[in-house]
C-alpha cells in the first residue's frame, strides 16, 4: 500500500470510528474531557505506529485500549500533585484487565448511552442540542455556532457548562429502562427534530435552507432507530417525517431563493426513494397502535407526498388525521393546519369558519402564517379588502426575508 492510499484508509477509519471510540472511552473513563483527550492521543499514536506496524485487525479495540492507557498515563502525571487523581488512575488500571474482553461487545450500547446522556432533560435544551452535535455527531464548536448563528464562545460555554453538570450532579451514562426509556426517548427525538428544523427552516438569517443540519438530524434518527433495544414507533415516525420534508427540498424554493408553496411545487422533482422509505416507516409505526404525534404528522406529510397533485390530494384523510393529532397534541398551530385542510376539503368559506374562532388565541394572533392562511381564504373568495389587511398583518409579523418577499408579492398581486 502506498503512502496516499494508507493515509486515505486511516482517515476513513478515523471518520468511521471516532464517535464510537469516544462513546466507549467516556464510559470507561467516566469523564467527557478526559475521554476526548484520550481519543486525540490514541489517534496520534496510531499515526505514529501504524505506518510501520500496519493497521491492526481490530482497529477499534486498539484505539479504545490505547486511548485508555494514555488517559491513565495522563492521570498519573497529574497525580504527582493530587492524591485523588492517583486513586482514580489506580482504579482504572485495575479495571482495565477485566474490561478488555467485554469492551467490543458493548460498543454500540455506548453510543446509545452517549445519546441519552447528551439529551438528558436535566440539561438545558440548547445545551442538549449543542452537546449532541458535538459529542455524537462530531461537529466542531465552530460548525455548531455557524449553523445556529451563535458566537463560538457561546456554544463552547454551553458545552462546558453541560459537561460540568453531568459530572457534578452525576448524570449517569446509561440507557434508561422500562417506562423511563419511552419518556426519555421523547427528549432525544425532540433534540433531533430541533436540529432538523434549524437546518430546514432557519427562523432568521439570509439563507432559508441549511441542508447540512437536516441531513445530520436524519443520520441521527437512523442511528437511534438502529440502536434502540426495540423499534419505537415514534422514532420511526420522526425519521419518516424528516425524510418526507427532505424529499421535497429541491422544490421548496426557486434558484433565486423565493418560496414555492406546496401546491405549486414540481412533484416530479421530489425524491421518490425517500418518500417510499418514509411511507413504509409510517405504515409500520401506525400498525403498532403505540404511535404518537410524530407518526401522525408523518402520515399527513405522506398523504401530501403520495398525491399526484394538490387538487388530487385526499383532503378528507388529512382532516381526519389532524382530528386525531389534535386529541394527542392540542396546540393552536395544529388547529390552524386543520382549518387550512378543511378549506381545501370543503372550500374557503368553511375554512374561514374553522379559522375565525382560533384567532382568539394569542399565539395565533402573533403568528404570521395564521394571518397568511386567513388572507389566502379571503383571496380565494374574491374578498380583496379583508385579504389585503390579513396579508399585511402576516407581513408585519414575518421575520424571514424569503417569507417577507413572498407576502409582498401576494399583496402586489391583489392590485
Amino acid at each position: 500500500m502506498d503512502g496516499t492510499a494508507f493515509t486515505r484508509e486511516v482517515d476513513a477509519l478515523f471518520a468511521r470510528e471516532s464517535r464510537r471510540v469516544l462513546a466507549t472511552l467516556i464510559r470507561l473513563l467516566g469523564d467527557f474531557d478526559l475521554a476526548e483527550d484520550a481519543l486525540q492521543e490514541a489517534f496520534m499514536a496510531a499515526l505514529r505506529q501504524w505506518p510501520e506496524e500496519g493497521i491492526p485487525d481490530n482497529a477499534r479495540a486498539w484505539l479504545v485500549s490505547t486511548g485508555r492507557f494514555k488517559a491513565i498515563d495522563q492521570l498519573r502525571r497529574r497525580a504527582r500533585y493530587d492524591q485523588i487523581l492517583h486513586q482514580q488512575a489506580e482504579q482504572l488500571t485495575a479495571r482495565s484487565v477485566v474490561e478488555m474482553e467485554v469492551e467490543n461487545v458493548g460498543i454500540e450500547d455506548d453510543r446509545l448511552r452517549l445519546i441519552f446522556t447528551c439529551c438528558h432533560p436535566g440539561l438545558a435544551q440548547e445545551a442538549q442540542v449543542a452537546l449532541t452535535l458535538r459529542e455524537v455527531c462530531g461537529l466542531t464548536t465552530e460548525e455548531i455556532a455557524r449553523a445556529f448563528l451563535k458566537k463560538p464562545s457561546t456554544v463552547a460555554q454551553r458545552i462546558v457548562r453541560a459537561k460540568a453538570k453531568i459530572r457534578d450532579a452525576r448524570i449517569p451514562y446509561e440507557v434508561p429502562e422500562g417506562d423511563d426509556l419511552f419518556e426519555r426517548l421523547q427528549a432525544v427525538l425532540q433534540v433531533i427534530y430541533l436540529v432538523f428544523n434549524e437546518g430546514y427552516l432557519a427562523s432568521s438569517g439570509e439563507q432559508l435552507l441549511r441542508h447540512d443540519l437536516s441531513e445530520e438530524a436524519i443520520r441521527l434518527a437512523e442511528l437511534v432507530l438502529a440502536l434502540l433495544p426495540r423499534p419505537e414507533p415514534e422514532a420511526k415516525g420522526l425519521l419518516a417525517l424528516m425524510l418526507l420534508h427532505h424529499a421535497r427540498r429541491a422544490t421548496r424554493t426557486t434558484t433565486g431563493g423565493e418560496l414555492v408553496l406546496l401546491e405549486q411545487q414540481d412533484r416530479s422533482l421530489w425524491d421518490r426513494e425517500e418518500i417510499a422509505r418514509a411511507d413504509e416507516l409510517v405504515r409500520s409505526a401506525l400498525l403498532t397502535q403505540r404511535f404518537g404525534p410524530y407518526t401522525l404528522q408523518a402520515a399527513i406529510a405522506a398523504v401530501h407526498a403520495l398525491a399526484p397533485s394538490s387538487d388530487a390530494t385526499d383532503w378528507a384523510e388529512i382532516v381526519g388525521l389532524y382530528d386525531l393529532l389534535l386529541t394527542m397534541m392540542p396546540s393552536p398551530i395544529v388547529a390552524l393546519n386543520r382549518a387550512v385542510a378543511v378549506a381545501m376539503r370543503d372550500g374557503p368559506q368553511a375554512g374561514l369558519q374553522a379559522l375565525e374562532p382560533l384567532m382568539e388565541d394569542a399565539t395565533l394572533r402573533d403568528y404570521h402564517l395564521a394571518h397568511a392562511a386567513r388572507a389566502d381564504m379571503h383571496r380565494r373568495l374574491g374578498q380583496r379588502e379583508p385579504a389585503r389587511s390579513a396579508y399585511q398583518a402576516a407581513l408585519d409579523r414575518a421575520t424571514q426575508p424569503a417569507e417577507q418577499r413572498f407576502l409582498r408579492q401576494r399583496l402586489a398581486e391583489l392590485g
Binding site: T154, R161, E174
Partner: protein, 131 residues
Amino acid sequence: MKYLCLVYYSEAAMQERGDDHWQSLNKECQSYSGGLSESGVMLDGSALQPVATATTVRVRDGQVSVTDGPFAETKEQLAGFYLIEANDLNDAIRVASRIPPARYGSIEVRPVRDIYGESSDQVPYAEALKS
C-alpha cells in the same frame, strides 16, 4: 452520592385545597418518607412551618440584621426537604418524582457539596455564571 430534594409549593393554593386534602397529603408524606428511611435512602428530612414564620439573618460589617420573612418572595414557597442517598441523578429523580407534593409544586434536586473535599479549594461558580 447525597442529594437534597427541596420541596416547593404554593401555600395559598394548598390552603384552597382544604383540610381533608391536607390531612391525606400529610399521611401520604409520612408513609413515603417512612419507607425511604427504612430502606436507608432518606438520611434526613422534615416538613417546615409556613414562610410566615421565617426570619432572615444577615451579617454586614459585623452588624447582625434580622428581617421578617424569607430572603425572597416567590410564587412557591419552600415547604420541606429530603436528604437522600442516590447512585446518580436518575436515581435521585426517581425518588424525587414520588415525593407527594411534587404533584402540586416542584422539587429541586441538588447534589450535596463536600466542604472537606476538592470543591473547597476553588470557587466552583465561575463556569455556571459566565454567559
